[in-house]
Structures are given as C-alpha cells and as structure tokens.
Amino acid sequence: METLGLLGGGLAIAVQPMNLLFALVGVVLGTAVGVLPGIGPAMTVALLLPITFKMDPAGSLIMFAGIYYGGMYGGSTTSILLNTPGESASIVTALEGNRMARAGRGGPALATAAIGSFVAGTIATALLTVFAPFLAEVAIAFGPEDYFALMLVALVTVSATFGSSRLRGLTSLSIGLALGLVGIDKLTGQARLAFGIPDLLDGLEVTTVAVAMFAVGEAMAVASQKGTAAQGHVEAIRGSLWMTKEDWKRSWKPWLRGTALGFPIGALPAGGAEVPTFLSYATEKKLSKHPEEFGHGAIEGVAGPEAANNASAAGTLVPLLTLGIPTSATAAIMLAGFQQYNLQPGPLLFVTSADVVWGLIASLFIANAMLIVLNLPLVGLWVRLLSIPRHWLYGGILVFAAVGVLAAKGSLVELTLVLVLGLLAFGMRRFDYPIAPVVVGMILGPMAETQLRRALQIAGGDPMVLVQSPISAGLIAVAVLALLGPLLWARLGWRMKSDED
C-alpha cells in the first residue's frame, strides 16, 4: 500500500492551484492541436520546451502530460464529425464515427469517445501506477520477431474486416503497402519510390494520406454528385444528443477491451498507438451482436478504438518513466523535458525524484477528468457543425485539411500529394474499393517489414527465428488461424455461431 501513499502525495502536488492551471492549459492546448491534422502533440511540446525552461519542473511536466492526453482526445472530434483524422491513432475512429455522425448520431459518437477515453485513460493510468516496473521488463524482452508476428495478426484480422469483397479489400491493402514503401529504407538507408523528389525521402506522412483519402476524396465524391442529394446526406441530430441506455450497454465492454489491448501494446517500445486501434476495431466487429452495422455506424467501432488509443498513451509512459526509453515522438520530447531539469528517467527516477513522478501520475488522473469536463458540454456545440449546408461544409473541410497539412510541413509537395491521393480515393470510391485498408497497409506494412528484416538480420538469415520465440510462434498461429479458419469452417460446412453469452 506504499504505492497508494505515494500517489496520495502526488495528488497533493497535482492539486496545487498552479499545477491545476498547468494541467488545464495543457489539456486545452492538446485538444486544439489534436483537432488540426498535421500538428500533433509532439510538435507542440517541442515548441513549448524553451518557454518552460524557467518554470517549475513539476508544473511543466504536468502541462506536457495534459497536452499528450488532450491531443489523443482532440484527434477524435474531427475524425468523427468531419472524417478528417487529426492524429494517426484516430483514423479508425473515423470509420464508424463519421457514419454515426452523418446519421444524426454524432452526439453519442462523441460522447462514447470522450467517456471511453476517460475510462481507458483512468484504468491505464492506474495500471501504470501498479505495474510499471514489472511491465517494462516484459516489454523490452519483446524482440523484432515478436513485433513482426504482432503486425501479422493485425494485418490479417484487420484486412478481413473491410469491404464487401476480399479481392477489393486486398487490392486496397496493396495500394497501402506500396505507399508505405516510399522513402528511405530504414535498414539500408537507400531511397525507394522517391523518384528523385527530396520531399519524398522521409516517406509519406500518415496523417497526410489519411486526410487525403478520407476527407478530400469524400469532398470530391460529394461535389461530383450535385443534384443527387440522397447520397451522402448529412443529418445533424436525430434522436437523443446523448448516449441512450442501449448505447451505454453496447459501449462499456468495448471500452474495457480497448484498454486491455491499448495499454500493453502502448508499453511495448515499438508498439505504437495505431496497432491497438486496428486490433480493437477487428475484435469489436468479430464480437458484436450487430456485425451488419459495421461500416454504417456501429457504436462499438468508436468506443473500442478510442479507448485503445488513450490507453496506449498511458502505456507509452511505462518504458519512459521506468527505463528512460522514449517510444513515441511525444515521449522523446518529454524525455528532453525531463533532462532539461536534470531529471533522468529510468529505474532511479522513482527513487531520486519520487515527488515529480507521482505528481505527474496524479496529474494524469486530473487531466483525464478535465478532458471529460471540458468536452462533454461541448458535444452539442460540435455537432452543430454538421448542420452547415453541405457545399459550405465540404468546402470548409477542404480548406481545413489543406491548412493543416501546410502548417505541419510547409511544403508544396505535401499539398500536391493531398490532391493526388484525394483523386485516387475518389476513383476508388467511384468503383467501390474500400479506403481504410490503404491506410492500414501504409501503417502496418513498413512496421512489419522493418521488424522482419531486423529479426532475420540478427539471426544471420535463419527464418527459424520466427517460430523459436514462444510469443512469436503463438502470434503467428493466431494469424494463420484467423486467415484459414473461416475458409476451413466454411468447407467443413460448419456455421460459425455468433457468440451468445
């Protein structure tokens, strides 16, 4: 119970009025930058670092944590309402969330995202408090072959859930995999598919592609259907603005499952926030009693991934605080923030600067509570956005997307990319190819490739390394089962029963 005492001490630090103010500033800033595609929490924290140099360490770290959590949350608002993901971790939220919003259920979608984020963030922070040191040890033991197997599971399960036809889904996925190849190859430093354009050497930005594929492609589709108003009709509010009893019933399990996926994967040094959101989406679709609603606005598809997204943000702090290993861009900059005050994250941090660490953890709880207080009352205001006439709304989305992309990179190449990829997305919509697998392939492809090559390189080219690790062998078995299982069952004439518990 020593932990609880320390946490109590931390709470006492975090509720000091100045620190509360820092948490509030962080949360508001984070939400604002999370909303804009392209500008993420990492860049915000980096720009604020020099300003905070003369501030009290606890206060500024509390603010950074608020920005981090706020950014994760803010990205979902535009995802749901405008189909314009602000962060790569909220791409999955757009899939069901935007469908819900167009059917007049934007309120419940935003609410389940907010409450799910709160629940997941709170549980994950509690897990961080108790398990951090233990979990960190497990996480670094995760090797490249294990990561590769994890990516394989994600790829197989996720690509099975999209689109009406397997062939169309796989075609889209291949486009994504090809887009993921663009840029300097991480392991050899050689350029691929860059066509001599220097701006392409660092690869395509995930948010740029997501914004182009989702928002720009859709705006073009809407513009091309002038007069045929029935398609793509947007209704601002239908039914309750808040979550109904049914919504709650359908949300709470996905929140918990999303947390269970997000926290441990976020704690892995190369886990990231995107993979758990994909896995959560696939899981919810599989387990849902209303699988037919997926693709048309299923609330589970918002609740699960949003929870996973926020839980992974807390997970990222595990290796950062206990081992001094930054596993995301934001964490890397927070590490720089720690060092600025001569605080060295790592095993000794909990001993040498216990007050700062526990103050930070306590303020995560507070930041979470603030986020929900800040966002729930705004839901009604946000959904009003959708009552803007359609031509204004989509015009606005185009401007918003272009400004966001320009603000992040300031490059004309990037803007051209948005337009070209938007055209591609328009064509794919026109011929009924699903869009989401493109983004999935683009995120997972390079991760899977890098980890596979790393594993083989360390093992001197021996492919047996993939099945020698129990974690990797187990995950590969899951992937094979997920891929061949449905085919086998179909052949044997078994009917998969929907799980009725």
């Binding site: 140099f53 490249p144 050899t188 040094p269 095993p347």
Partner: protein, 325 residues
Amino acid sequence: MTALTRREAVALGTAILTVAAGGSAGAQAPAEVKIMAPAAPGGGWDQTARVMQGVLTSERIVRSAQVTNVAGAGGTIGIAQFVNGARGDPAALMVSGFVMVGAILMNKAPVTLEAVTPIARLTGEWQALVVAQNSPIKSVQDLAAALKADVAKVSWGGGSAGGVDHITAAMFAGLAGADGSKVNYIAHSGGGEALAAILSGRVTVGVGGGSEFEQHVKGRRMRWIGLTAPQGTSGLAGPTLAEQGFKLELQNWRSIFAAPGISAAQRAGLAEVVEKMAKSKAWADQLAAKGWQDTYLAGDAFESFLKEEITRVSGVLRQLGLVSA
C-alpha cells in the same frame, strides 16, 4: 520554392501589427539573426538553434533571433532551401552537423555543404560502445576478438543507416582487424527502440551518443566498452577506446553555417557574434544542462576539419556500399 513556415507567418503577422499600431519610427534595423534548423522541432539541431536563440538574446549579443524549422531527409531539404532563399543575407544562419555530411552523400543531394559559408563548430558528442550487463563480452578486447572471429555474428544496434552510429561501427570493426564493410548493423529509428534492443541483449553491442547510455551504465544494466574520445577526456562513465589501445576518434559534431554570397566583412561579423555566444557563461551553462561538450572551432581550422570529415565519411560510406563510388 518559398514555403511560409508557421513561425514566419507569425513574424509576418507581428510585423503587420507593429506597423498598424504606428510602429516605432526608428529607421535602423535591429541587429537580428535568423537561425534555420534543418530538422523538425525537438531534435538535436532544433535544440541547438533554440539554445543559440536564447543565449544570443539573453546575453544581448543581438537584439532578436528567430528560429525556423525546415525538416526532411537528414537536413538536405533544409540546406537546399537555405542556399536558395538566404543567398547574400548577412543575418541568416543554419545549424548543421555530422549527420548532414552523410545524408548529402547518401541522398545524392544537389546542394552540398560546399555551397554554404562555414562559421564554426559548436558542440560535439563522443560515441560510446556498450553491451548488455549479462553479455559474454566483458571488454573491448573481447569485442575485437569476436569481430575478428566472425564479423557477421556480431550484431550492432544503433540509429539510422549510414548515420554516425553506423559509421562508428564500421570503423571500429576495421580497427579490430575485421572487414568493416561486412559489419552486421541493425538500424533503429529513434533512440528508444535501439535502447530496448541493447538492454535486452538482442544485439551483441550497442553504439550511440555517450550521454544516452550513461544512466544505464550507472544503473548496472549496461556495461561500458569505450568511448570514441581522445585519451584523458574527463567526466565520463568509463574509459575511452584510445586509452584501451584502439585509436578511434569520432564526434557527432554540430556546427553553424552562414548563407552563400556574403562579403568577407559580413562573414567576420557573424563569426564574431557566434564567438561571443560560444564564450559566454550562459552558453556553457546550457551545454552542461544538455550534456553536450563544447568543441568550439572556428576559422581556417574549422574549414580544414570539415574537409577531413567529408573525406572520412564518404570513404566509410563507400566501403559500406551505401554510396556508389
């Protein structure tokens, strides 16, 4: 192609506001500098630019200093934009360093460091070799022997391919009597992933900036093998390679350049500004807080150092087959 960065946009906005508010009637332009960090906010070059900004203004060496970021491709996008946009501008400065030398060669960049005006080397960080605490390799001799026995069996964990860590690995393997071109180097993006691979003992040996490993060595999770610093370098977690009989000196240096096409007098003026900054106490304090070593070197000495580094880096990259001859 001139892209308006956010910072420029803000500066522009402020300028418009100042004028709109009546402005100060003073005709003299304030003594100001513009520092470009050819990388995204947060990295080493960006931090260098921002520390410079802070010290230059707080010490009143200049009246104002702005930082802009142009990220991408190891700085080669930034330098291209700098050469085109700042030509002849006596107030323009650009941060650069060891990594840009390699990136220019590997990306076959059209604009090289020869196009800009060298001012000074500011800071450097020595490279360290470490192993996991429970590794069978206990000393630099063990590592050299393992490399000599089978260079491909020794896997190295570090940062991006062709970067300073990769070059360090290849050079050490060569010194140990192995074929440096066959070094089994596992590139990682960002420090975190590489640290995890080293701590867990998945890679045989880790290579990176000395300060990255210091706390892990102190916490007895990593064993220090050596540092690529000259003999007698102080303030470190362990001995240098040179002190153990392996003469390898390599620092990940950062430097400052001015625009092309400025006059000798303008160049001397900028050099003076940078020297004042580098000799100030505020600069020394900031370096200490960041764990950077002061390796200030200016004038002809810096120019010849730069030439040697370019030759050395391109030699290693060719040997590794990352740059075609």
